[in-house]
């Protein structure tokens, strides 16, 4: 099962090679990858339909409970089949569609990465692995939306989609981690078995909010819906695949997947119903208002996603079943419609519904596909969309809460769908408003296969729903609802209330189609909403972040080295102080002080050091400062001698001498030691920071020496210096034997420094080239 996910990534890496070998038609060969995945997944069909759950675990970071646990149940298989089947059709379509584009091999690479991530997402049952695939889909979506990277709108849309979905992803991660802390596991199966504990936990609310934030941003729910219409800047196959059929459904998948674990509470239900309801109505209204075909489809997609969230929120088994049926119906007709839009766009160069009409004459096959898809979208008997719509009405009728409001809302959006379906099917293809001379050609065969297949499936699934769709969708609904209920799909239920409502919807929708021009003229104060709505919030937030970044960068990274040092040391001191504060520290350990333990000559040396420091601060002479610096160094060396470190002392003498010599050598090349004054406030601040730092280091040393010294290393070297190292001087043996590699590293550092010095001395800058 790991292979099924990995194969996409592996093939993605091979795409450039294949593209080089095959030239322009490489897309058709790559389409075999999703087809292979589809066939492989289909072999599990019978076992899954019987209720079996197949899982495989591949250890990744077992110590953190992060593993690739793949699980294939009804829900995963349903999405897996959807992803791979659509993938196949889209790849075939794109192979023809992308011919005019440069670097189309990159396009297929991104698309494969996306498909693999999406498969990983729906098959993972480890939360962290799921999150990683989740973010990978956002990432590949970013690459695909921004595929025409020369256009600024593309880049902005890509960035916007990425920022919205990825920040939702971060919320999701936070939610997963809290959930993991509460349940002590990241395995979904284990979490499900103790879900009562999660629901009663005080953190339940936080978990729900965070996880739903992830789902809502991905599935474009209000108020995060705005990125989806902008994402239409992507090439049309991407819009069809990612932004209507699969990626935006990832949020729905997540909600469905977590419904058994987190669902059933009022918070869960009402959040979903409110967000879904608003999204559904908003999408429907905005779809009517627009005239760009892709935008219209984008807004109806938002509306459809709203319906799905709403139904999952309603939470009855009927509602869940209806959501899953509608999901499939929507994927089929919306995928087809997007591809049809692609054909129209490609052949006519326009996507504006006001400019297009009578296309059937020129593009009969595209037209037939459009009719079929539109019938399904409008919910006409016996198309699959009809079954989906009927179930939704029925679920709304039997909802436990607010069923009248629910019913009215779904009917309103249904009416809008009907009007848009007529607009596309009739308005674009049959209605003939004469424009200037036109002569369009039908799209090539490769670009017809996918939309026709999808549209025909919408009819076939409707006619034979009981045989073709029912078995799997029963399993899907049972996984989501966490119960065993039969699902019966027929397109004919007899003359009942729901059928009447369906007919009413069709009538109202037709009416809406005829008055749509008038409706478009109603201003609705959309400008106000656009200027002050979520898009404006997004822009404002982005500006705010940029301004903040600029502000803090210019404050902390202002180019003055001393400022950096001061900030770093002050922060370090603060951290150190906050730890030291917890100890009962005797800064003046008078009680322990033993005057007999101090030798007179030691005090002399220390006094020398302090005097040297003092003189250093007083002098303006270069030579004197260097000499005082040397004095400090020698004094330190003498302290080493006093306390049993002759090797260190010798090195220190040598190095100190060399340093002084080096300084003196370049002295005549330097200006006199000027004193550059600091502002008195800054100077005072620096004095405080310096003294505070010194005090802290003193405190640390005093604190350390208060405690007994325990060193296993000291004992080890005492034992083994001669026996293992064959040397009598422990320090030397450590350096050249026990830690010889460290010494080699040290020598390398010296060598690098030496090279740097030579370079600095020898480098000759040509005048005029300095800048």
């Amino acid at each position: 099962m790991l292979l099924i996910v990995l194969i996409g990534y592996i093939c993605a890496l091979l795409v450039p090679v294949i593209a080089k070998a095959l030239g322009r038609s490489h897309g058709y060969l790559i389409a075999l990858v999703p087809l292979g995945v589809f066939v492989y997944l289909s072999t599990y069909f019978n076992r899954i339909v019987e209720g079996e759950v197949i899982s495989r675990q591949y250890n990744w970071v077992p110590s953190l409970d992060v593993n690739f646990t793949f699980q294939l149940d009804g829900l995963s298989l349903f999405f897996g089949l959807l992803i791979s089947f659509f993938g196949f059709l889209i790849f075939v379509y794109a192979a023809a569609y992308m011919k005019g584009y440069k670097e189309s091999d990159k396009f297929f690479m991104y698309l494969l990465i996306f498909m693999a991530s999406m498969l990983g997402l729906v098959m993972s049952s480890n939360l962290i692995a799921l999150f990683i695939f989740w973010e990978l889909t956002s990432f590949s979506s970013y690459l695909l939306i921004g595929f025409s990277h020369n256009a600024k709108t593309s880049r902005n849309a890509a960035l916007q989609a990425f920022l919205v979905t990825a920040s939702g992803g971060l919320a999701l991660l936070a939610g997963f981690i809290i959930l993991g802390e509460v349940t002590q596991t990241y395995e979904l199966v284990e979490i499900l078995s103790i879900h009562e504990r999660v629901i009663d936990h005080p953190y339940y609310l936080a978990i729900v909010i965070l996880i739903l934030l992830g789902a809502f941003t991905k599935s474009a729910q209000f108020p995060f819906h705005f990125w989806l219409p902008n994402a239409m800047a992507a090439p049309t196959p991407v819009s069809a695949y990612l932004h209507s059929a699969t990626m935006v459904k990832a949020g729905i998948y997540l909600i469905a997947r977590f419904n058994p674990t987190l669902g059933g509470t009022e918070i869960w239900q009402f959040t979903l119903m409110i967000a879904g309801g608003i999204t559904m109505l908003l999408g429907a209204i905005l779809a009517i208002q627009h005239t760009d075909l892709k935008k219209i489809l984008a807004y109806t997609t938002i509306s459809a996603l709203g319906i799905l969230v709403l139904m999952l929120g309603a939470g009855t088994s009927l509602a869940i079943q209806s959501a899953m049926v509608f999901l499939l119906a929507h994927a089929l007709y919306k995928g087809a419609l997007f591809l049809i839009t692609g054909n129209i766009d490609k052949q006519t160069g326009s996507r504006d519904v006001l400019e297009l009409s009578g296309l059937y004459k020129f593009m009969p096959f595209t037209g037939v596909a459009a009719f079929l898809a539109c019938f399904s979208m409008a919910g006409v008997l016996p198309f699959f969309g009809f079954i989906g719509k009927e179930l939704i009405y029925e679920a709304a009728l039997h909802a436990t809460v607010q069923h009248i409001a629910l019913l009215v809302a779904v009917i309103v959006s249904g009416v809008a769908f009907v009007a848009i379906a007529i607009e596309i099917g009739y308005g674009l293809f049959i209605q003939n408003i004469s424009f200037s001379e036109r002569n369009y050609k039908e799209a090539p065969v490769a670009m017809l296969v996918a939309p026709v297949t999808l549209a025909v499936l919408g009819l076939v699934f409707g006619l034979f729903a009981g045989v073709l769709v029912q078995p799997l969708l029963t399993q899907v609904s049972n996984v989501v609802g966490n119960e065993d209920l039969p699902l019966e799909l027929h397109f004919w239920h007899g003359f009942n209330l729901v059928l009447m409502l369906s007919l009413l919807t069709l009538l109202l929708g037709t009416a809406l189609f005829f008055v749509r021009k008038g409706i478009r003229k109603i201003p609705l104060h959309l400008d106000y909403l656009y200027n002050h709505g979520p898009t404006a919030w997004y822009d404002g937030l982005l500006q705010l972040i940029k301004r903040f970044a600029r502000l803090q960068t210019s404050y902390f990274q202002n180019g003055y080295l001393r400022n950096y040092i001061a900030v770093i040391v002050a922060f370090f001191s603060f951290m150190l102080a906050s730890v030291l504060w917890q100890f009962d520290l005797k800064i003046f350990p008078v009680a322990n002080f033993d005057i007999d333990n101090v030798r007179f000559y030691e005090v002399i040396i220390l006094a020398f050091t302090l005097v040297a420091v003092f003189v250093f601060f007083k002098t303006r002479s270069r030579l004197t400062s260097i000499v005082t610096m040397g004095v400090v160094g020698y004094a330190v060396a003498i302290i080493f001698i006093f306390f049993g470190a002759p090797d260190v002392a010798i090195t220190q003498f040598l190095i100190e001498t060399l340093t002084v010599v080096l300084f003196v050598l370049i002295l005549h090349k330097l200006p006199p030691l000027r004193f550059y004054p600091l502002k008195s406030f800054q100077n005072g601040l620096y004095i405080i920071i310096s003294i505070g730092f010194g005090l802290l280091m003193t405190s640390v040393l005093l604190l350390v020496t208060e405690h007994p010294m325990v060193s296993g290393l000291k004992a080890y070297f005492a034992e083994n210096t001669y026996i293992l190292g064959k040397g009598k001087n422990a320090v030397n043996v450590i350096l050249v034997d026990f830690r010889a590699l460290d010494t080699m590293g040290e020598i390398s550092v010296l060598a690098i420094a030496a090279i740097g010095i030579v370079a600095l001395l020898k480098l000759k800058l040509v005048k005029g080239k300095m800048k």
Binding site: F643, G644, A645, I655, L695, L701, Y722, A730
Partner: protein
Amino acid sequence: MDEILPFVVGILYAASLYLMLQRNFVKLIIGLIMMGHSTNLFLFSVSRLTRGAPALVDGDAEKLTGIFADPVPQALILTAIVIGFGIQAFAIVLIKRNYDVAGTDDMDKLNTTDKINAA
């Protein structure tokens, strides 16, 4: 002595940090060198001061016995001194080079690389 040295270390740290916060390039380097000294002494004191007993194995003995200075921090300090020298030497040459090229030893005039929109 264990009680006095920490104060000396603290004073050295304070002085060297204050030097590093100055605008003069030379003072910055000398501050850096002195901070090296402070840190070496700091490490040395952490391992406790043992008067006049280097970690040497006696003539015929096979092991170190009795009271002796801890060799581990000494090895660390040795390494630190040598590496510190590499940095010091580089920094000293850098002062010279910088003065040759930029004509100043004022750190405040060497801050254009971090300016936003400097380019």
